[in-house]
């Protein structure tokens, strides 16, 4: 866990593309909301591995949003329930239901559909918010925190040594943690 956290901090502080990290968080959001072994999650994981997104950020995002999904589950189920049982959408879902892929993806399950729709709707805003925050972090927050004594103390800790092992000591010169 510490390693993953160190990787994320390294990514935030390093030259890793802001878009790669933001995309990893947005995709991690979709995967985190749904049960892990659903068809759309497997497809997303495949693309996460294939496309150059930051894996550490993705794994942490999945962990974080999985926890969040427990709190959101009533709303997720409610969303799926209302979509699947709305009379106006019955014809639409009935035609989709004839496709094996639809059933295989369990999109006729209230939780899975609710999570997927919520994830798909909110992944774009989350991408842009994440991007904005990381940019701000790199410009302002990182240098602001540098001034604190506690940060100086942390630099002497085991975690910092781990962190530097990933960054290869370059962070010091780059004004990292």
């Amino acid at each position: 866990m510490l390693t993953l956290l160190a990787k994320l901090l390294h990514a935030l502080n390093s030259d890793s593309s802001i878009r790669q990290i933001a995309l990893a968080i947005a995709l991690g959001f979709i995967v985190g909301l749904s049960p892990i072994f659903t068809l759309h999650n497997i497809v997303i994981i495949f693309f996460v591995l294939l496309i150059r997104v930051h894996l550490g950020s993705f794994i942490l995002a999945v962990g974080f949003f999985s926890g969040l999904s427990y709190l959101l589950s009533p709303a997720i189920v409610q969303l799926g329930e209302s979509l699947l049982t709305t009379p106006n959408l019955t014809v639409f879902f009935t035609s989709l239901y004839q496709l094996s892929l639809f059933k295989l993806a369990h999109w006729h399950h209230t939780y899975v559909l609710g999570a997927f729709v919520l994830g798909a709707l909110l992944c774009a805003p989350i991408y842009f918010i994440s991007k904005f925050i990381i940019e701000k972090y790199r410009v302002h927050i990182m240098t602001f925190f540098e001034k604190f004594r506690i940060v100086q103390a942390l630099k002497a800790s085991k975690f910092y040594r781990l962190y530097t092992s990933f960054s290869g000591g370059s962070s010091l010169t780059k004004g990292g943690l």
């Binding site: 496309i51 329930e81 699947l84 239901y97 094996s100 399950h109």
Partner: protein, 600 residues
């Protein structure tokens, strides 16, 4: 392109997928085994042992081997156990969220088998399912009561609810009320002295000397005054007469009621204590009703276990809705070849019972029969001891209505050592017999309708009886070689009505009825004597009161007549006539004097 794609990611994906598949392949059986044990233990509340779970992958097949579920009521026994259960699952449908089992086979299913060591019990139901006496227990309890059904004559006659007693009390109360009313009127009535004074007054008016019309006028006025008094008194007499008549008719009505009361009381006693129904049919109920009730209890138990399960599966129960709200649910849409969410296309159970092996086959086992439009079928058969077969089908409609019907047949089945009843008054068991029978049943929601007929041939019995009646019963049964019992069950499953007819009735009729009749006649005589005594006492009181009323009536008639006579007295006319005569005589004398003077 390489800026966005990392091709080694594909290898990572394949490796990851392979790891997941390998994990499932190696650990699925252990995981499923643990899941079965933990869910079964939480469902049955006692230790569950499972030897092994095996997966076959082509086609997907799950085998559960050596399952034993401890009976939490008797931990040294299993609630049920089986050697092997194999289910062939349709993988494709499973991936779509449905459990479709093409074939389910359970072998060596046994109930109440002895465990090698007592199982642990995790939870006990706080609610005792057998809180009240079971129907069978109630049936047993009836038997010793048969001798005690005739109530104590003394306490019966002291029962204030008896009509004879009630009517007697009412008659007594009415006498009192009427007496008070009449007494009040009696005080106002003119007595003999008053009547005498009236007569004297009238007499005196007659004796008065009349010399002029003014005297006549005076007599007339005085007589009118006395007449007014007569009239007032006559009105009182009339009122009293009416009261006497009312009282007479009320008392006559009540006397009539009390006269009929003993007959009505006896009818009520017969009804209350079911004296009329103390006949052989009760014994058929007691002996065979117990067995019938046990079968219905089993059906009720099964229905109570299955119906909430079906309700849950339908997703209509509040618990299921709550669960669906937390975890979500599958929503199914129309498709060309619809399938229920759970379906066992074919099932085969081999059950080990003390009486031999039973084969149970089932098909279309589901809780959503309307989807494929087919009923679930269950057939039970055994040929190890005579022939036994049961064919039944059931279905649950979309609106939640449960319908089941079936037929059963038993032929040449040997029975041995079956206890029919065990109570203080009678212990009876069937030592050996050949059983034949057939029947049918239908269940609509919780309404049962069943008719069954069995016959026992070459039967031998053993038992002990303590009371006279049960001894008679035991002897009669022992003397029977063939016995038929017809049991009809109807009504709500929780409170079914039994109608049991048996050839035992005919066999018992002569001997038993004779005994009962003697006892019953003696009882009837004593009760009727007591009731008649009560009646006589009440009527005795009635006689004296009636005589009193008659005396009063005669007195009133006399008084009325006397007053009438006085009222109609022609005393004024008499005095007028007297005056006229006097004046006539006077005129005559004057004329005589004048003529004497003239003719000298």
């Amino acid at each position: 392109m390489a800026r966005f794609i990392r091709w080694q990611g594909i290898i990572a994906f394949i490796v990851l997928s392979a790891l997941v598949v390998a994990f499932l392949y190696f650990f699925a059986e252990t995981l499923v085994k643990k899941a079965i044990i933990s869910s079964a233990e939480s469902a049955f509340g006692a230790e569950v042992n499972l030897a092994e779970v095996k997966f076959g992958y082509s086609p997907l097949q799950v085998s559960v081997i050596g399952l034993q579920v401890t009976d939490k009521e008797t931990p040294t026994q299993n609630l049920f156990s089986f050697d092997r259960a194999t289910a062939g699952i349709d993988v494709w449908q499973y991936l779509f969220g449905k459990i479709i089992i093409d074939e389910l086979e359970v072998s060596q299913l046994a109930f109440s088998s002895v465990r090698s060591q007592a199982g642990e019990v995790y939870l006990n139901d706080t609610v005792n399912e057998h809180g009240g006496d079971s129907l069978a227990e109630q049936g047993k309890a009836l038997l010793p009561e048969v001798d005690m059904q005739l109530p104590d004559v003394k306490s019966l006659l002291n029962d204030s609810n008896l009509l004879t007693v009630k009517a007697g009390e009412q008659l007594k109360a009415s006498y009192k009320t009427e007496q008070v009313k009449i007494k009040a009127l009696k005080g106002q009535l003119p007595n003999k002295a008053k009547l005498k004074s009236y007569q004297d007054k009238v007499k005196n008016l007659g004796k008065m000397k009349v010399n002029s019309l003014a005297d006549i006028e005076k007599i007339k006025t005085e007589f009118e005054l006395i007449k007014a008094e007569f009239k007032a008194d006559q009105a009182l007499v009339k009122k009293a007469k009416k009261q006497v008549l009312d009282s007479k008719s009320l008392l006559a009505k009540q006397v009539n009621e009390i006269t009929n009361a003993p007959t009505k009381d006896w009818q009520q006693i017969e009804k209350t204590y079911q004296l009329e129904s103390i006949d052989t049919e009760d014994f058929a109920h007691i002996l065979f009703g117990e067995q019938a009730r046990e079968y219905v209890q089993k059906a009720k138990w099964a229905y109570e276990k299955v119906s909430p399960l079906m309700e849950n599966m339908k997703g209509d129960s509040s618990e299921a809705k709550e669960k669906a709200h937390e975890n979500g649910r599958f929503v199914y849409f129309k498709e060309d070849t619809p399938l229920p969410s759970i379906l066992v296309k074919k099932a085969l159970f081999s059950i080990q019972l003390e009486q031999g092996e039973l084969m149970v086959t089932g098909s279309e086992l589901t809780h959503q029969h309307w989807i494929r439009g087919q009923d679930s079928l269950i057939n039970i058969s055994s040929t190890s001891n005579g022939e036994l077969s049961l064919n039944s089908n059931f279905k649950l409609s979309k609106s939640g209505d449960f319908n089941a019907e079936g037929e059963w047949l038993v032929s040449d089945r040997s029975l041995a050592n079956i206890q029919l009843t065990k109570s203080k008054a009678l212990t009876l068991s069937l030592t050996a017999a050949k059983l034949n029978g057939k029947g049918s049943f239908s269940l609509m929601n919780s309404e049962i309708e069943a008719s069954n007929g069995v016959s026992l041939k070459q039967a031998s019995y053993q038992g002990q009886a303590k009371s006279k009646m049960t001894k008679l019963l035991l002897d009669t049964i022992k003397s029977l070689d063939k016995l038929t019992v017809d049991v009809a069950v109807s009504g709500e499953l929780s409170q079914p009505k039994f109608s049991i007819a048996s050839s035992l009735n005919e066999a018992l009729t002569g001997a038993f009825k004779q005994q009962v009749a003697g006892k019953l006649n003696d009882f009837k005589r004593k009760v009727n004597e007591g009731l008649n005594e009560k009646l006589a006492n009440a009527l005795k009181l009635g006689d004296s009161q009636t005589a009193e009323l008659l005396d009063l009536e005669a007195l009133l008639t006399d008084t009325d007549k006397a007053l009438d006579d006085l009222k109609n007295s022609d005393i004024v006319k008499q005095q007028q006539k007297k005056l006229e005569d006097k004046l006539k005589n006077k005129a005559k004398d004057k004329l005589k004097d004048k003529l004497g003077d003239l003719f000298g």
